[in-house]
Symmetry: C2
Subunit: 340 residues, 2 copies
DNA sequence: CTGAAAGCGCTTACAG
DNA sequence: CTGAAAGCGCTTACAG
């Protein structure tokens, strides 16, 4: 592998000059520039990452992470991914600050400001609240040279350098395919949705509905209820739904409130007759899968959602290279009792 | 973060002495040693990885990979994982040599010798042929300071520093649970096995059988055939099996020969009536899932099997740290049409 | 427009 | 038993 030193020797200049050319910093005599570029090309020069990272130690990198873990058990696993990666990055003298906030714009904005103004972070990983004030903020940070990576949910019109998370449409489609495989004959399905205001919930359901319409016409959506991700609302709503439609033989939980809904099924003693499909592997869902109440749950690699954004930020800040693609979709991970 | 330089200053010695103590190289005055250890502990010293990796550039690392990709399409995806990681490691001036061999002890031994004697590799990743000559070889290399990581299949009595691959028992159990979910009523199952001599095939089937015996007694193994991972043998054997047992309504392919077996099903026009489960995502299997002939296939993260061994070797050779655990089981990955 | 030098945090001969 | 120095491959002021 060619190094800057070698190129400098071949070109008869100093390493500083080679650096200037190859990294476009400061003006260089056009003739020398051309010469250096040619040599670099001929030698297929690629910066050595070990050198880059060592040199970057002087920057004393600090990364910020903002999650809604205060209000959502799903984020517990994301947090594990963050912490793991934080330990790894500590070995490179890069530290990671975590802020857990409630599902709320103001709190999130405050957290961003604190991290940027007081802690002076060099990069941000965030599960963004879907509000223009957040996307504006992200754009402002980018102008200041602070990159952002979104995770779990993306946000429009923002200059985040990448998104790490689910492709919700596809995961809804997978739920449809799986529901088809897990059932037989005519399926009378109850859909328990989170909130019609949360984009990822609606995308999932849209993916599901389009798929059954197109490919699995034996699955009929008998009724839909909304639980606002709350277990008690979920319990009440599901109970009512099941009472109203005794023919329901399958349930699709598109978001949270899985435990409450399943308790409703059990209180009516209908768990043997109803095929239940859910998302994510929060502790209560895990138990219900183990007990055979929930047939399968579709997961979205929460750890990766925590770790990968930090990887992307660290790589960008040490090597200056943006990720190859913007959207980093996690794989759609079907879990049953045996591979839980 | 504390550095060697800081410790040296505090202890009033040179960095060389600190290095000797912390890395146990050469003798040091017991008093100074104690002092240095104390300071290191008080400061919670951890070597900076960027420094370690840069210093290791002098070693000009070369890693070897040996796979049975000559005779098995599954390894194509493993190979992709290897190549990806090789590109990444190239950025650290570490090069990766790949040898593809047939399923055969001698060829594999020759490949090892060539890599070690001629190429002088510093570490080896290998899908080992299960033979004592291979495990002996691995032990010999370890004595010479060359670490080995096994992938896809492990080998007993060897001093490989880690194994990356499936937990076959668990993946067989998952197949059992999935088969249960995909069917209903009485299930008359045909099992199409690869070779009774290959440990991972038998482990998978044992996991499957134990599981149905214990938890899914409605699944009966009607007949079992062996196809030696060959599509034409598979075709013939499956054809005979299906003719002999017209009641078969489910098929479990525990290894290769999936395409041949499915062609037998189709030639008898029984694909609508038989639930088929397979392993891995070779191109033909993928197509059959897309067409709805195969209901689901259980994958074993082939890319990770290719990339992670290289990560482990590189980390060991640059930092001297052995992986935290020996067995790195890949996750059991259920794929259907929609999340293929 | 360019070079010389120091530094990031380690390791590795070498000299004494 | 110990220190001084050079080197891994970059970047970053600084001086001219």
């Amino acid at each position: 592998m060619a190094t800057i030193k070698e190129i400098a020797e071949l070109a008869g200049v100093s390493r500083g000059t080679v650096d200037r050319v190859l990294n476009n910093r400061g003006a260089v005599n056009p003739a020398t520039e051309e010469k250096i570029r040619e040599i670099a090309k001929a030698l297929d020069y690629r910066p050595n990452r070990a050198g880059l990272v060592l040199a970057a130690q002087k920057k004393n990198l600090k990364l910020g992470v903002i999650l809604f873990s205060q209000s959502n058990p799903f984020f517990e696993d994301v947090l594990k991914g963050v912490r793991n990666k934080a330990e790894e990055l500590a070995e490179y003298n890069c530290c990671v600050l975590i802020r857990e906030v409630h599902f709320n714009v103001e709190e999130q904005l405050d957290a961003i400001n604190e991290l940027v103004e007081i802690e002076e972070i060099s990069g941000l990983a965030i599960a963004p609240y879907n509000d223009p004030r957040i996307s504006d903020k992200i754009n402002r940070l980018w102008e200041k040279g602070i990159p952002t990576v979104t995770l779990n949910t993306d946000i429009e019109n923002s200059s985040r350098i990448a998104y790490v998370g689910s492709n919700y449409t596809r995961s809804g489609e997978t739920a449809a395919g799986l529901m088809h495989l897990l059932t037989y004959g005519e399926v009378n399905l109850g859909v328990i949705s989170g909130s019609p205001k949360i984009l990822c919930h609606t995308e999932r359901i849209a993916g599901f509905e389009n798929k059954i319409k197109k490919e699995y016409p034996n699955i009929h959506i008998t009724g839909t209820v909304v639980n606002n991700d709350d277990d008690f609302e979920s319990y009440d709503q599901t109970l009512e739904l099941l009472r109203r439609y005794p023919e329901i033989n399958a349930l699709f939980f598109a978001a949270g409130g899985v435990y409450g809904g399943c308790r409703a099924v059990m209180s009516l003693h209908r768990e043997k007759k109803i095929t239940i499909l859910a998302f994510d592997k929060v502790p209560t869902t895990k138990e219900l899968v183990q007990e055979g109440i929930i047939a399968a749950t579709i997961c979205q690699q929460p750890r990766t959602q925590g770790s990968k954004p930090l990887d992307i930020l660290f790589a960008y800040l040490t090597t200056g290279v943006l990720p190859e693609k913007e959207n980093h979709y996690v794989s759609i991970d079907i879990r049953i009792k045996e591979n839980l």
